[in-house]
Amino acid sequence: MRRRGRSFRFTVAAEWALLFWMLALPIWAQAKKLNVVTSTTDMAALTQEVGGEKVSVESIAKGYQDPHFVEAKPSFLLKLRQADLLVVVGLQLEIGWLPPLITQSGNPRIQVGAPGYLDASQFAEILEIPQGTVTRAEGDVHPLGNPHYWLDPDNGRRIARGIANKLSEADPGDDVYFQQRFQDFDKRLTGAEQKWDAEMKPYHGRKVVTYHRSFPNFAKHFGLNVIGYVEPRPGIPPTPTHTLELIQLMRREDCKVILVEPYFDLKTPQSIGRGTGAQVVVYLPSVGGEKGVDDYFKLFDYDIGLLMKAFTATQ
């Protein structure tokens, strides 16, 4: 009797456990959304495009913030410790602030090299990879290549495909969903790209000056010619000698447009503008740089709109 009683109790317990598990499982499965944290808003926008409603995405940096100098605030740790996937720009863009956040997050899933860590630079075409010895005499140079690579729609497509594959890997059940979202994004992007290419075609070969070296991929895709930078070296603030040289260069080359990222001071660019008759344009390097520019498409719409206006005005 006693033995039977015990085994009976055991069976009941097992049944309850099974029942609970079966009840709970579909609830978990429904509630389960992949938690994705990205270092910048652009990666967040692309993840949102392919992840749809199956992911919740948050970016650490804001679109109007210099992505080199983000503060490693503890509040970011709260996001990171919940994350299933961390998407970074890579190429040492975040070297000044992301590593300690990853270490302190206490989240094994997103440590460098773990399955939940995705360096998006591996999917994209990277420009300006320095040759030969790299020294800091060249300023805050990125030895692995220019990390501002997302401003080329072709790279956007490649990154989105990489993220979609990663999402499928992390959540195999929704594989079809992610791949479908990517196909859809691809189609929309190709359409938009045709429009952008057509809009920019008349300005092919136009010369521009940018503040920081954050424009090479855009310039390459749309056939613009970046002839100089307001910064004498990457990360080094403008100096009077360099500014004078730049003014002379712009006059010689008849360059009429200066592009400035929203996080830089406009004083020097404006004085260069006065010296050369060039127009100063605050363009957006990232999604979320201005209100309303909240996805990858609007980012190009906004920037191309600005450029067309500036090029027409300085014909």
Binding site: E71, P74, G106, Q131
Partner: protein, 442 residues
Amino acid sequence: MRVLGLLGRAVLVVALPCHALQSDSGQAASAQSDNSALTQKIRDLEDRVIAMEGQIRQLKTEQASRAQPATTAVPNAESSAQEASPTPQSQPPAVGAVTSGAGTQTVVLGGAGGSAAKALNPDISAIGDFISVAGHNPVQPSPTLEMHEAELGFQAIIDPYARGDFFLSFGEQGVNLEEGYVTFTALPAGVVAKVGKMRAAFGKVNTLHNHVLPWVDRPLVTNNLVGGEDGIDDAGVSIERILPAPMGIFLEATGQLFRGDSGSQQSPLFHASRKNDVSAVAHLRSYKDITESTNIDLGLSYARGHNDLGSNFLTQLYGVDATVRWKPLRRSIYHSFVGRGEFIWSQRQQLPSEQRAFGFYTSGDYQLGRRWFVGGRFDRAGRSEFADLTDTGASAVLTYWPSEFSQVRGQYRFTHYASNIDTNELLLQVMFSLGAHGAHPF
């Protein structure tokens, strides 16, 4: 090697349709649909080449980190010979050959073994800290010109579960392992553990290396109550965890156990005369973003250890720290403000009676422009062995950054010592950093 073959084939395939395209367009305009199909094909191939380049970049870093020592020993000449005549059967050092296949995507760093050998190394950095002091100070004399410290840092990820950090400081008195610890990042339940020698999590200033202080010197309260420049810096174990908290508050608890030897000769703090005389530190930190540009950071600290009088004499420290930061995100590289204060109570058992001393500092630093900072500090601290003797001081600081990697700082310091001596000093500091020094705690 398969990658190399694939890439070569891909380049060929890209090149062929290009030719075709040229001759095609010369023939007839009716082939427009063919044309767009070809463009699409080229695009796809371009995508594949770029994807492969990315894979190669990944492989290179992975291979380098996994490579055997033999790889590093391969001299440059050999790898360049392989580049000249790539054989399909080459061994690991063919990383060089792979990169040459990638064409413009090569990162060639100087030195034997190329980038693969360097990728094996930890991030190495060196920071020089030169201080010059003018003015007479009979209580705490400082040399006129001093290479105060050269800090070498070695930092790397050890494996998927841990990272290692070493900081060696070379001062005028010799070499000191300032910190050297392993951090276990992949423990269950969100626990982060450190083992090794480390600066204890007591307050704020105690955790900071010299080169990240907002001043040339350390405040009086550190010198009088918390063990001087080295502070609580000991061999031991540390465990920290983020605690759940409402309203987006960040709450983190840290518990640390040390051998029990801290402080310097001038300002001793803990001393283990017996094996059991370990010291312990506990820290609770809360943090909240008020707006996206303003935040508040509050901390409570406790430290306990045996002092130099022996095992029966305890020293206990209680600390409160508060930091307010402001940094507008759109102009984050130009303007910022940090206000901070630390209040520390010391309870030291000694003969004939226990001494209860109190000390604090408050300071503010404002960033005027991209390269300029101005700041001030007010100091007041009793002495741990003579709580009635209180020193008071005030400083004004001006800092200039030629770049992120160097810094020139001037500090005017007035101190009124308890022995009724007033000193006026001018401190000048030049700091410079080489290599890839990792980011610092916030």
